[in-house]
Subunit: 221 residues, 2 copies
DNA sequence: ACAAGTGGAGAGTAACACTATCCAATGTCG
DNA sequence: CGACATTGGATAGTGTTACTCTCCACTTGT
C-alpha cells in the first residue's frame, strides 16, 4: 500500500499522514526506493488509533506520541502495564499539591495505591477544583462515587486480554481513555433517566413540594 | 472592590479579567464613574468558577460562556435543569450518526432517555471511536459500566440542592463536569488497587515462567 | 516522453486563550 | 493645583497547537 492509498483508507489528507510520520506517531513504511515506501495494515490501524485518541479522547499529539511509544516498547510486569497507562494519561506529578482530602478518601477506602501515583495527584487536583468551583460534596457521596469507579475498574481489569502483553497494554491504555468517554456519556444518560423518574413534572419554583423526601426511592432495583 | 483588587484576589492578571468581561463570561461591575466600576463577591466567585471549568475541566471559553449564560438564565423545570446542563456540556447533535449500538444498549437498559438527547449522540460517538481505535467491549461489560454510571447518577440527582433553582443548576452543571474528572481519577486509582491485588508480581515476559502460556488463568476471581 | 505520485523539509495557517499596548478620563495624594 | 497611578475600553500582538501547503528532486506507470 502506498501513501495515497493509506491516506485514502484512513480518510485523512496525505499531508496529515506525513505530519504524523514526522512527529513519530507512525512508523515509516518499508522503503522500496528513494521515492516510494510500502505501508501495511498496521499503519492503517495505527492511524485509526491516533484518530480515536485525538478526536475521541481529546489527547494532544504529544500524549498520543507517549501512548504509541509505550505501545511499541511495553513494560515488564502486568501491574506496570496499568501504571504505564496512567503515567501516560494522567497529569504531571506536583510536589506542592494539597493531597490531604484525596489521601483521606483513599485511606477511608483502603485502596492499595502508591504514594506517588499520578492518578492520586489527579484526584487531588480534581477535588481542589470542586472547591474553587464552589461545589461541595459530602464524604458519603464521594464514597459512593468511589464504589461506582471501583465497579468499572473491576470490569476494566478482568476484561484485559490475556493472550499477548501487547494486546493487554493496548487495551489498558486505549480502552481506559476511550471508555472514560463512554462512562461519561452513560452517566449523563443515567442522569436523564433518574431525573425523568424523579422530577418529571416538578417545577423549579412555585408549588414544588420537597423533592428531597423521595429523591432516591425509585432505584432500589 | 475595584479591578486591581478583584484580579489580585482571583490570582490572575487584570488583562485576563478584562478578557473575560469582553467575552461575556463575567458581568460588568457597577459603574461609579466613566473610569471606575465596583465588583463584589459574586464576581470573585464567578472567576473561581471560570478557572475551575477552564483549567480543571478543560472547557473552552465558548463552553464556559454557555455555562454562565445558562446559570444567569435558568430553565423552568427540574428536569430541564439537567437537560440544559447536558446540552451545554455535550457535543453537537449529528443527524448522520450511526446510533444503533448506542440505541441497543439503551434499550437493553430500559432507560427513559429522549430520542435526541445530546448525550445519546455522545455515547454513539464514543462507541464508534472504540471501534476505530480497535477496542471491542463485550455487551455484558457495557452493561456493567452502565450500572456503575447509574450508581453515580443516582448520587448526582439525590445530591442536587433543593433550596433554590440557581443552586441546583449550578450543581447540575458545575458538579457534573468537575465530578467527571473526580470519577476518572477514582477509576484510575481503583484500577491500580484491583490490579495490585490481582497480578502484583506477575511478569509479562522474560525469564520468569511463560506469562503468555498461563496469562489468563488468574482472573477468574 | 511525461503526467502523476513519492519522500522529505520548511513555511504558512487558523483557532484559541490570553497578554500587551495605548488612550482619554478619572481618583488620589502632596 | 498638579503629578502620577489606575480605570474602562479598544486594538493589536504572542505563543501554542494541529494541521496544511508549497516546493523539491526523483521515480513510477502508460
Amino acid at each position: 500500500m502506498r501513501m495515497s492509498e493509506l491516506s485514502r483508507s484512513a480518510g485523512m489528507p496525505v499531508a496529515t499522514v506525513k505530519y504524523y510520520l514526522r512527529e513519530g506517531l507512525l512508523r515509516a513504511g518499508i522503503h522500496l526506493s528513494a521515492t516510494s515506501a510500502s505501508y501495511d495494515g498496521t499503519h492503517l490501524e495505527r492511524l485509526g488509533l491516533i484518530r480515536a485518541l485525538v478526536d475521541g479522547a481529546g489527547l494532544s499529539i504529544a500524549q498520543v506520541k507517549r501512548v504509541t511509544q509505550t505501545l511499541d516498547n511495553p513494560p515488564d510486569t502486568w501491574h506496570d502495564m496499568l501504571g504505564t497507562a496512567q503515567s501516560v494519561l494522567c497529569g504531571p506529578p506536583d510536589e506542592d499539591l494539597e493531597t490531604t482530602s484525596a489521601d483521606a478518601l483513599l485511606q477511608r477506602l483502603g485502596w492499595a495505591v502508591s504514594e506517588r501515583s499520578p492518578a492520586r495527584a489527579d484526584l487531588a487536583r480534581a477535588l481542589e477544583r470542586l472547591d474553587t468551583g464552589g461545589i461541595s460534596v459530602r464524604a458519603q457521596d464521594l464514597d459512593g462515587y468511589a464504589a461506582a469507579a471501583q465497579a468499572a475498574a473491576v470490569i476494566d481489569v478482568t476484561a484485559l486480554p490475556t493472550d499477548t502483553p501487547g494486546a493487554a497494554l493496548r487495551q489498558a491504555i486505549v480502552g481506559t481513555v476511550l471508555l472514560d468517554h463512554v462512562l461519561i456519556a452513560l452517566r449523563r444518560l443515567a442522569q436523564e433517566d433518574v431525573s425523568a423518574r424523579t422530577f418529571a413534572r416538578r417545577q423549579t419554583s412555585g408549588a414544588a413540594d420537597s423533592a428531597k423526601s423521595d429523591g432516591g426511592a425509585h432505584f432500589a432495583g
